[in-house]
């Protein structure tokens, strides 16, 4: 409806001009709001920053997401497929029996000629501990753990050779397997002598050591069993530290005993929860307090300006538009108060982070907020102010306009 639209436009203009006209009072409203909002922003910034610093290693270090089986079980390939398909699983590969997952390795060209025994770690694309390194593939491409590389004095580009021995039909047999080492995993990836290998190679090694034939590599033995083989373990990583507890519960419920670093995760999570509760209690008290204080100022202001509102009614403004008057002004107070608090917050944040930089180190920020936090703060501020003003507005709507006009 056209007339109503332009009446609202006129009301917005009048509300704004009244707002500017009463600069002293509106400045007080705005500053009072900033004064309440600023400590809340800083408090939340500290909570977010500190918890963020505690959570960062949990999120960056894949060990916090690892779920390790205790002892050996029997897991079918089908089970692995099901697990891999879950949303909370980032990575899972089968492990063979640990006794059948070792190999001796040497660097043929090395002067020392040292041979070490390495544990075979199955890996694949997306292995969290390998980071950006290319995963091992096929029968010949592998990665060494840092320890193994150090002991072998491995230098990039050097060829390696795997040595496997078994007693088959009462005869000692040894095979040699040429290997290409494409990389060395970081020290944290595996803390003993280890070699990251593909699933195929891992299975081939187990087959050979168990006396079975591995035809692609030309290793003789009894005929290979096919798909029905089961695996005794797994390497499993949850997608997120928060997913560990759920995965653990699921596995334990199916009788699979596992070890996790859940306790570390839960410590930080419960700290986060408790600090959040404290924060929201303080924020709610502040919001209610500010709401009451702002609401009563609006109320008193409406009392004071009763005549002006009555003049608007007499001129022919509709009641609804007049009721929106204090709400529009509350919106302006909300946005301006929030903006001032946000600007001052940045100064405080910079100060706090410089002041506390030494005790945290590593260039981490103690106090920080995301843009989304500012948006949420603004929405909450505006709603609190508008609700308070709306209560005043309801009073305004109930006023009989004419009573205000009498001189007494």
């Amino acid at each position: 409806m056209r007339p109503r639209n332009s009446q609202s436009r006129l009301i917005v203009e009048l509300a704004f001009r009244d707002y500017v006209h009463e600069r002293v009072m509106t400045s007080c409203f705005i500053l009072a709001l900033s004064a309440v909002l600023l400590p809340l922003l800083v408090l939340f910034g500290l909570k977010f920053g500190i918890i963020g610093n505690l959570l960062a290693p949990l999120e960056d270090d894949p060990r916090y997401r690892q779920i390790r089986p205790v002892g050996s079980g029997s897991f079918s390939l089908e089970w692995f497929e099901q697990m891999a398909a879950r949303d909370d699983v980032a990575f899972i590969v089968p492990r063979t029996r640990s006794i059948a997952a070792t190999m001796r390795v040497r660097l043929p060209d090395s002067e020392t000629g040292r041979i070490i025994s390495v544990e075979l770690i199955p890996s694949a694309a997306g292995d969290p501990v390998l980071g950006d390194l290319d995963p091992p593939s096929g029968f010949n491409t592998v990665l060494l753990s840092q320890d193994a590389a150090d002991k072998l004095a491995f230098a990039e580009g050097a060829g390696a050779e795997g040595i496997l021995s078994r007693t088959y039909k009462s005869q000692q047999e040894t095979v040699l397997l040429p290997l290409t080492v494409t990389g060395v995993a970081s020290a944290g990836a595996f803390e003993r002598d280890g070699m990251f290998v593909s699933h195929e190679l891992l299975v081939a090694v187990e087959d050979f050591l168990d006396g079975r034939a591995v035809s692609p590599l030309g290793w003789d033995g009894s005929p290979t069993q096919d798909d029905s083989r089961n695996f005794s373990g797994f390497r499993l990583y949850a997608r997120d530290p928060g997913d560990v507890a759920g995965l653990r519960r699921g596995l334990m419920a199916r009788g699979i005993d596992v070890r996790t670093r859940q306790a570390d995760i839960e410590l930080v999570q419960s700290l986060d929860r408790n600090l959040s509760i404290v924060f929201w209690v303080i924020a709610s008290i502040a919001a209610v307090g500010y709401g009451i204080s702002f609401g009563s100022s609006v109320w008193a202001n409406i009392e004071r300006k009763q005549r002006d509102f009555s003049v608007l009614r007499l001129t022919g403004f509709r009641a609804r538009g007049i009721v929106s008057f204090p709400i529009l002004q509350a919106l302006m107070t909300g946005v301006l108060g929030w903006a001032i608090a946000a600007v001052v917050y940045f100064v405080v944040q910079a100060g706090l982070n410089t002041l506390l930089a030494e005790s945290v180190g590593r260039g981490e920020a103690v106090c920080r907020l995301l843009p989304a936090h500012f948006m949420i703060a603004m929405l909450l501020t505006i709603s609190t102010a508008s609700v308070a003003a709306a209560l005043g507005g309801i009073r305004l709507a109930k006023l009989e306009p004419s009573l205000a006009l009498r001189e007494g």
């Binding site: 006129l10 009641a319 009989e400 001189e407």
Partner: protein, 235 residues
């Protein structure tokens, strides 16, 4: 039409058995304060809801439709009444009828902007007529009370209303100024053919201004209740 209300423990009852006001009439309700003059003006301005009303019709001009105000109150159609008020009524208060946050110019233009009419040269024209041209860009607080009343008259006439209602328009100014303001107001409504309804306790001033006097008599003050009847004023 009847309006009953309570004020300070006294029950008050204003009854208007019959009141016809013709186009271009100039009326003054004269009576002592507390006799309900303001209440009557507010009823006529469609801002105060009558307690009961057998008939209340408003025809802004001879060629325009008759609006049933009693029915609008009955159906609580406040927006309709607001719209009628914005188009056809100008209202002057005893004092303080200006918005403090607008300049004189914007105060005068307000009533026109509300009904979407051009404000070009309007404020200048009215300021010229009411002798307040020098005050146009000032805020009301900087003006004398007499000047403020002139601005209020300008605003209540700027949107070409058919009725100008003034509640004690001169009560706050000195007698000399009161005389001038009444003269100006009557001169303007005569020229524009606007109906003028004034409430005042200044009997002689109204008489000199050539207004038709309607006695606003208190019939009975018995105990806690007061009855006022406005007599027929058709002309």
């Amino acid at each position: 039409m009847v309006k009953s209300y309570e004020a300070g423990g006294t029950e008050f009852r204003l009854s208007v058995p019959r009141l016809d006001i013709l186009k271009s009439a100039k009326l003054a309700f004269v009576g002592e304060s507390g006799s309900g003059k303001s209440t009557l003006l507010e009823l006529l301005a469609m801002i105060l809801r009558p307690t009961e009303s057998k008939a209340f019709n408003f025809q802004p001009a001879a060629d325009s439709p008759i609006h049933d105000i009693a029915a609008a109150w009955e159906s609580a159609d406040a927006d309709h009444l607001s719209d009628l008020r914005s188009r056809h009524i100008g209202y002057v208060l005893q004092s303080g009828g200006l918005l403090p946050y607008l300049t004189v110019r914007d105060n005068i233009n307000l009533s026109r902007r509300l009904v979407h009419r051009s404000t070009e040269d309007v404020a200048e024209h009215w300021a010229e007529r009411l002798n307040i041209a020098a005050q146009l860009d000032k805020q009301p607080a900087k003006l004398s009370i007499g000047q403020r009343q002139r601005v209020a008259i300008a605003r209540s006439l700027a949107h070409d209303p058919s009725v100008l209602i003034a509640d004690e328009p001169t009560a706050s100014v000195d007698p000399l100024n009161a005389e001038r303001i009444m003269e100006l107001m009557v001169g303007l409504v005569d020229e524009l053919g606007v109906t003028l309804i004034v409430a005042s306790h200044a009997h002689r001033l109204m008489q000199r201004a050539g207004l038709q006097m309607i006695d606003h008599a208190i019939d009975a003050v018995s105990g806690n209740s007061m009855h006022v009847t406005v007599s027929d004023a058709s002309s």
